[in-house]
């Protein structure tokens, strides 16, 4: 999973091969450089590990006033960043796990999301909250949640989940430049992913999906890391004669429903893959929207592949059952396409099973953190 299956479709000319970590670090450097009102704060931001390397070197470069650690007080610090934001600064806050953002829901939902609206547009909150989804290595029930659905339900919050390094960079720049609060969610299995990344500052618009693969038989709309699994699934499906169109949604809110509708108008079938829980989640919203607006295009019931409605158990023995894979997606896609799963299908699905242990993204990935 560490090689970018999209390597060939990266657009720009002046590009370098980078990991997600390097791309995010790049974006932070550029944002801190071009706008002196930008701040970066979070538990571990200036420490030797630098939030998995994404913030390494930044304190040295931009000084301890603009790049700083914080007390363990997620709620107040979120409010403090809101206060700084309405006072003309642009704070970027980091949570090493999105689970920690649950301590700050009051400030995020009651204040950040509403401040501009409830004061009639007389103030604005240009705040970015980077949240990392901590899959793998036994993170367990309180360190592996993928909570995008909670934030996406709140009017006033934008929620984005890039996958590829170029998007991670461009969307982080766009989020920092945005005058409203953005929840920027990084699945940690996108961190080691390599891809071509344009040099210099650029912004990738928030709210736009990206088609990663063309296909005519079924649309697979995927969020965050599931895009990678979907692309693998699509390759397996192709060998079974099914051409899947894969869309990397990139944003959760705003949600690019038109992009999915266009695709479903062609394929007539929809499968949504998300990194969060099944019920009341992101997949349900996309299915509902497509059903409402594209009912006549649908030739079969849409389906989804998500986490089960269950806290994440720690034991590595369960990881492969808790987390859906390319094989899960391919199997669901076959069902949506009405293909009976015979011997050929079973063999192809088996090939899609991961070859690394199911609690790590690749052999380089090590515990404990």
């Amino acid at each position: 999973m560490a090689s970018n299956p999209l390597a060939d479709i990266s657009p720009s000319p002046a590009v370098h091969e980078k990991t997600g970590i390097e791309a995010i670090n790049d974006a932070l450097v550029l944002c801190l450089q071009r706008d002196p009102t930008t701040l970066l704060i979070g538990e571990g931001v200036p420490d030797p590990k630098g939030i998995f390397g994404t913030t390494s070197g930044l304190r040295q470069r931009f000084g301890p006033q603009r790049v700083l650690d914080m007390p363990l007080a997620e709620n107040a610090l979120t409010g403090i960043c809101i206060g700084a934001a309405i006072s003309g600064l642009r704070p970027i806050m980091v949570h090493q796990r999105i689970d920690f953002a649950l301590l700050a829901m009051d400030q995020l939902i009651n204040n950040a999301a509403k401040w501009r609206y409830m004061f009639g547009g007389q103030a604005r909150v240009p705040l970015v909250v980077r949240c990392i989804v901590g899959r793998g290595w036994g993170q367990g029930p309180q360190h592996a949640q993928s909570l995008q659905s909670l934030f996406a339900h709140i009017p006033g919050l934008k929620v984005v989940m890039p996958v590829f390094p170029d998007d991670a960079k461009g969307m982080l720049c766009a989020a920092v430049a945005d005058d409203d609060p953005v929840i920027f969610i990084e699945h940690r299995w996108i961190h080691p992913l390599r891809g071509k990344v344009p040099t210099g500052y650029f912004e990738t618009p928030l709210g736009k999906a990206r088609r990663c693969r063309e296909g005519s038989d079924i649309t697979i709309a995927a969020f965050s890391y599931m895009t990678l699994e979907a692309l693998s699934a699509a390759r397996g499906l192709a060998r079974l004669g099914i051409e899947a169109e894969v869309i990397d949604m990139r944003s959760v809110s705003p949600l690019d429903v038109p992009a999915v509708l266009r695709s479903v108008a062609k394929t007539g079938r929809l499968l949504v893959a998300d990194t969060g829980h099944q019920s009341f989640g992101v997949a349900a919203e996309l299915i509902a929207r497509v059903t409402r607006q594209g009912f006549d295009h649908l030739r079969a019931a849409p389906a989804s592949v998500t986490l089960p409605d269950l806290p994440c158990p720690t034991s590595h023995a369960w990881a492969g059952h808790y987390y859906p894979t390319a094989a899960t997606i391919a199997e669901q896609a076959l069902q949506v396409c009405g293909v009976r799963i015979g011997e050929a299908q079973r063999q192809e699905l088996d090939k899609l099973q991961p070859d690394t242990p199911t609690d790590i993204p690749n052999p380089d990935f090590r515990g404990p953190f």
Binding site: Q65, P71, I80, I82, G120, G121
Partner: protein, 316 residues
């Protein structure tokens, strides 16, 4: 100091007028009056510079007015008008007047606490020399965010004044049912803040303490904490007097009424020869006139247009 007396009286008369007209059911939003607590608002805010910032919570009319917030815009906001200070989106619990430096009050107890600290942080980072002043109640002090915020403010020595208006109740619940018998300001002191505890109904005392606190924090001494003892005269939320419910001892109520911040200050001014009946009547008349005009103009202002409801969720 004459002017400060006028300001207290103005806040009192504004709120009395609000209370009187609330029954018309045209101000259709929850409203928390600060009648009886005017000395805290005026005494502290008058120690600030015009360019300093104020934040508050649900009981904010007095702080907004003391900081120079537009009276007509506030009343229009309560009437749900498009010209309201929050464009009809906030009501009594969400006031703002950025021109006056009143940066916002909100309805969640504790909600503005860290926001104010963030504004002080911004002031420090940008070297603006601005002081931020935050008002909150004794109940708010129980919220964890209060302590997280004091810690950060002390850590970074931020230019901020924490002003606790301790009116000894949160809604109907007395302090003793919510906090153990130890002083609030002692905790702030243990957090590393410079603290003062005082009678919040004596304008003069409040002003002197606030002067010192503002001076200190502007000079780089870090966050300051004032615990002001005071008393709310009316019901927690709404226009009425609710003594008949019996949740507060009648003696305490009588005692605090006798310590009216306005009449105490009036007596002081009289004793100094700075105020007499005629002078007071002049002030009363001018205030009454201003209030009448403000209500008049607020009530004549148009209601917001349907199509504007969706504006201001996001920028652009």
């Amino acid at each position: 100091m004459d002017e400060l007396f006028r300001q207290m009286l103005r806040i009192r008369r504004v709120e009395e007028a609000l209370a009187e007209r609330y029954a018309e059911q045209e101000m259709r939003c929850p409203m928390h009056l600060c009648i009886g607590q005017e000395a805290a608002a005026v005494g502290v805010v008058s120690a600030l510079a015009e360019d300093d910032r104020v934040f508050s919570g649900h009981r904010a009319h007095g702080h907004y007015l003391a900081k120079g917030g537009d009276l007509t815009a506030m009343i229009a906001e309560l009437y749900g008008r498009a010209s309201g200070c929050s464009k009809g989106r906030g009501g009594s619990m969400h006031l703002i007047d950025t021109d006056a430096g009143f940066m916002g009050s909100t309805a969640i107890v504790g909600g503005t606490v860290p926001v104010a600290v963030g504004a002080a942080w911004a002031s420090q980072l940008r070297g603006e020399g601005r002081v931020v002043c935050l008002f909150f109640g004794d109940g708010c002090f129980e919220q964890g965010v209060m302590h997280e915020s004091m810690n950060f403010a002390a850590l970074h020595r931020l230019p901020i004044l924490f002003v606790c208006e301790n009116n000894h109740y949160a809604v109907y619940t007395p302090l003793e049912e919510r906090q153990p018998g130890r002083p609030i300001h002692a905790i702030a002191s243990a957090h590393g803040l410079h603290v003062q505890e005082l009678d919040g109904n004596r304008l003069h005392t409040v002003r002197t303490a606030a002067d010192e606190a503002v001076h200190r924090t502007r000079a780089g001494d870090g966050p300051q904490f004032l615990e002001l003892h005071t008393w709310r005269w009316r019901e927690h939320c709404g226009p009425d007097i609710d003594d008949h419910l019996g949740y507060r001892a009648p003696e305490a109520q009588a005692d605090w009424l006798a310590r009216c911040p306005i009449e105490q200050e009036a007596a002081r001014l009289r004793a100094l020869g700075l105020l007499d009946d005629i002078g007071r009547q002049h002030i009363e008349n001018a205030i009454q006139h201003e209030i009448d005009c403000a209500f008049d103009s607020a009530q004549r202002a148009p209601l917001p247009r349907v199509e504007d409801m969706y504006r201001h969720l996001h920028g652009q």
